[in-house]
Amino acid sequence: MTTHAITLNVNGRQREATVPARLLLSDCLRHTLGLPGTHVGCEHGVCGACTVVMDGRAVRSCLTFAVQADGSRLTTIEGLANGAQLHPIQEAFWEEHGLQCGFCTPGMLMAAHELLSRNPDPSDDEIREAISGNLCRCTGYTYIVNAIRSAAAKLRAPAPASAA
């Protein structure tokens, strides 16, 4: 099978891979590049668990071929924290109990990350809209909305929020 050499910037690191044209970006991240934090829930673009940020936009990595990401800048769940120090969005999810089983969480965090990067003070309806493409079966969403609202406040605060 024909393969293609691609170069990606993933979480600030330059990564190279040789992939078949049909390899999904989700599988490339998880199995080729060793970043299994991005999850696969439905593989038909509905659940949003595989959401990553590609060139500033939240995308479904299960509906994207790895070759389409050639030359792109990607942020995955593994790139959100600063080492062991949680990102304020992660902190807020922890404090507000915005996760239970954790399986949808990477996609939720990346969707929230994209929202807050373009809208630092979203209304609850804007939060709900931003995550309406991400299914969560555990939480009923209430605590996720609370977490994103809290994260927005942390990110707006003049001094950086302290880490746990």
Binding site: G41, H44, R128, I131, S132, C136, Y143
Partner: protein, 821 residues
């Protein structure tokens, strides 16, 4: 109490840690100790796990609901580069036996079909290849010839099937797998003396949990000892090895099930029997480790865990003043093509079938229909979600027919706070409760009086706004008799009576407390709860507790998280283990402090002499206990180390009556829930908007308000989906026509009420440690009833009544149009 219950004698309480004492950690909204790994993308779920040299499997699935397999040609598939092996059901049967079945008599089931397929999606061949892509390519190349048989789809006509339509002709002549009738108390007499009998035909349709993670397994066969090492996201990892080993034709001593983080279960991953057996057989045949992860389509069409699918003819007998006298129903349940847990989901419902009401007797006939659909399995509620809805529908219907207020009718019949423990006609008890208080808090939380008036005003203006209320039970902490006590007395099956939970504890030389759980994580909060209980027990900081999970070789006696049992059961195990270690801590400290053990107490992370400031920290004792043996007397009770295991049995259960005059106590920690919903229906589209919603739950002593709140909210979301949108649709040929997330509509953030209010009442259990009850299922046990009631209220003008679940917009619109108004 009715005379049929006289032999059901309650044993005394074994509660050691009394409710209502001042506590430092229990009751706090402590952040979960599980969360950092999930937030950082390091969850290590089944598909993240890598075993050296593993290959990947894909399956060929039946496109027919019911068919004979005429031939399978694997030649082309085997020739594809990268394919390691292609296997049929006959191949698999050379290394594994049929799946375990808890039904009695059993229904034969294999992980891969032989000769005949019985539902769409059943596996007929499997490919092992170098990667999943190649395996799926090869699956396309397998050629299967079928001879199509008549499909059984309808719940009632399936029972009448003959000839080629019989699904398991070798096991039974027809498609009726179970037909038993019961009377608990004077059902006939109570119906004969009733002034009013309310009768309804009620239909609860099929859906399932659909956790965002599917099921999967990695299995490795060892030629060294003939055993298997298995990673699987089952919830039952330390309870099922005996039965799994049987199917794998090995001894449990060479079966090593590894704990795996589970990405959501809600019951759906309780067992995962087919996948474990399939993957293990493939690994043995292929001669290398094999990973098999369901894709979403496979999980929809061939999981273990479709939910209840029932038709009820139900009757409630009342006196003319509204006093409820008796309940009876005839229920048929469409179990699909296999019957893994027997009619356990109906056994479960016997825990609380008469609800929060003083109903003196209960009778039922329960029939299990086999059809050409995927099998049923557990889903949040395990059958009790349906009987809650059936009873609440009857109560609403009774209120209407008797022209009584539905709230007043409920309050009139509710068990009173001074009547606990209360034994219901089936023999189960409700340990404690204050149902009236739960109702009162819910009514205040949502402003029930104001909403009822506002809804009436809006209806007068032509809008379809309604208010609905449900008062339901939430049983927790099951005993396993529910799996078999409805079986025929001549074939009771394996009459299991144990559902223990165990833990191992060790204190290291610097005083850190290591806890090893014998059950896995499924999205609940086991590590947090254990941390809170151990911090409380040892008067230490949560950061001094380290929690991990055992495999099957190091941890026995763990049944796992299901049936809202885990928090209560692991708390009991923690208390037992802590008490055992505390005895030794005091023995060692007594020697070091030259004090009598009876004068010692634990405080602030130390063992101290009561009434003095003399103390020695747990860390200092542990250092001595681990490294300085000669500082203690030369007696065995001072031997090195601080470690123990403990097993906690079900706190209070009794056997069913030998002739099933009652079923015994088996699900006695019973919470209460009151849900109140305000909805608006768009009569043109049938779409239901939730304008306001309140859910108040009483789950006994609250261990962690935040995590309990998460369970209530999440369960309510499940219940909203179950009621308004989620339905597995099979057509007349048995084709499953919406097995995907685009057409099986689970609530997104938009479908959830923006302002879902929750509240808690705490009436502690007198039987569990600290008085905790389970709280993992209540939302789904209450929401369908409250929403159904609210929709009825909103659609008064049309006379539309919700008599089936779900009522998807198209269903409701059709009902509105059929009303002719």
């Amino acid at each position: 109490m009715s005379s049929h219950l006289e032999t059901n004698i309650l044993p005394p309480s074994r509660q050691r840690e009394l409710p209502g004492q001042p506590r430092k950690w229990i009751g706090q909204s402590m952040k979960r100790v599980e969360d950092r790994r999930f937030l950082l993308g390091k969850g290590n779920y089944i598909d993240d796990h890598v075993v050296p040299h593993m290959a990947h499997a894909a399956t060929v699935r039946s496109p027919h609901a019911h068919a004979r397999i005429v031939s399978i040609d694997t030649t082309k598939a085997k020739a594809l580069p990268g394919v390691i092996g292609v296997y049929t059901g006959a191949d698999l049967a050379t290394v594994v036996d049929p799946c375990p079945s808890f039904a009695s008599p059993p229904v034969t089931q294999r992980a891969m079909a032989i000769d005949k397929v019985r539902h769409v999606g059943e596996v007929v061949a499997a490919i092992v290849a170098v990667d999943r892509y190649v395996a799926e390519d090869a699956a396309e190349l397998v050629e299967v010839e079928y001879e199509v048989l008549p499909a059984n789809v309808d719940i009632e006509t399936s029972l009448e099937a003959t000839g080629d339509a019989v699904i398991h002709p070798a096991d039974r002549a027809g498609n009726k797998a179970h037909d038993e009738s019961f009377k608990f108390g004077a059902v006939d007499e109570d119906f004969a003396r009733a002034d009013h009998i309310v009768k309804r035909r009620l239909r609860w349709k099929r859906s399932s949990a659909q956790a965002i993670e599917t099921c999967g397994c990695i299995s490795e066969y060892s030629i060294v000892d003939g055993g298997y090492t298995i990673h699987c996201n089952t919830n039952f990892s330390n309870f099922i090895p005996f039965v799994i080993a049987g199917s794998l034709r090995i001894s449990p001593t060479v079966l090593r099930m590894q704990p795996i983080t589970t990405g959501g279960s809600f019951g759906s991953k309780v067992f995962i029997h087919k996948i474990v057996i399939l993957t293990s057989g493939l690994a043995r045949l292929a001669g290398q480790p094999v990973k098999y992860i369901e894709d979403r389509l496979e999980h929809f069409t061939n999981s273990d865990s479709h939910g209840s699918d029932r038709l009820y003819d139900a009757e409630l007998a009342l006196a003319k003043d509204g006093t409820m006298l008796s309940l009876r129903f005839d229920v048929i349940d469409d179990y699909g093509a296999y019957l893994q847990f027997g009619v356990g989901t109906h056994g479960n419902a016997m825990a609380q079938v008469t609800g929060p009401y003083r109903i003196g007797s209960f009778g039922m006939r329960v029939r299990a229909a086999l059809t050409n659909k995927c099998q049923q399995g557990p889903y949040r509620g395990f059958g009790s979600e349906v009987t809650n809805w059936v009873l609440e529908r009857l109560v609403d219907a009774a209120a209407e027919e008797l022209r009584m207020d539905p709230v007043e009718l409920r309050l009139l019949n509710m068990i009173q706070p001074d009547q606990f423990p209360y034994m219901i006609p089936t023999g189960n008890i409700y340990d404690s409760g204050n149902f009236q208080q739960v109702y009162k808090q819910a009514a205040e939380l949502i402003g029930l009086t104001a909403w009822r008036k506002k809804a009436a005003d809006l209806r007068a203006q032509g809008r379809c706004v309604g208010v609905g209320l449900a008062t339901c039970q939430e049983r927790s902490v099951y005993g396993p008799t529910e799996w078999w006590f409805l079986n025929n007395l001549a074939t009771p099956g394996f009459t299991l009576t144990s559902t223990p939970e165990g833990i191992s504890l060790r204190i290291d030389p610097v005083g850190k407390i290591f806890a090893t759980l014998h059950s896995v994580f499924i999205g609940n909060s086991p590590e947090t709860i254990v941390t809170q209980v151990l911090a409380e027990q040892f008067t230490v900081a949560p950061s001094d507790i380290v929690v991990s999970y055992s495999d099957t070789h190091s941890g026995f006696n763990g049944v796992g998280p299901q049936g809202s049992r885990f928090t209560a059961m692991i708390t009991g195990a923690c208390v037992s283990a802590s008490h055992k270690i505390q005895i030794k801590l005091k023995r060692l400290a007594g020697h070091l402090l030259e004090a009598a053990e009876s004068d010692l107490e634990l405080r602030e992370g130390a063992v101290a002499v009561k009434g003095t400031d003399r103390k020695i920290s747990i860390g200092d004792i542990a250092m001595q206990a681990n490294f300085f043996r000669l500082n203690f007397p030369d007696k065995p009770e001072f031997d090195s180390g601080l470690e123990t295991t403990a097993v906690y049995d079900h706190p209070i259960s009794t056997l069913p009556h030998p002739e099933r005059k009652h079923l015994g106590v088996f699900y006695p920690m019973v919470g209460h829930i009151c849900h109140i919903a305000v909805v608006e229906v768009d009569p043109a589209t049938g779409k239901v908007a939730i304008l306001d919603y309140a859910a108040v739950h009483d789950n006994g002593t609250i261990m962690n308000p935040k995590t309990l709140g998460g369970q209530v909210l999440g369960g309510t979301a499940n219940g909203i989906g179950t009621t308004l949108s989620e339905e597995f649709i099979y057509d007349d040929e048995g084709q499953f026509i919406n097995p995907n997330f685009a057409e099986f509509a689970m609530p997104s953030a938009w479908e959830m009420p923006a302002n879902l209010k929750i509240g808690h009442v705490e009436t502690p259990s007198p039987y569990t440690e600290y008085g905790v009850k389970g709280g993992g299922e209540g939302g789904r046990l209450g929401a369908p009833s409250a929403l159904s009631s609210a929709i009825d209220d909103a659609l008064q003008r049309y006379g539309v009544k919700v008599q089936q679940i779900p009522v998807r917009p198209s269903t409701l619109r059709a009902m509105i149009r059929a009303s002719g108004k």
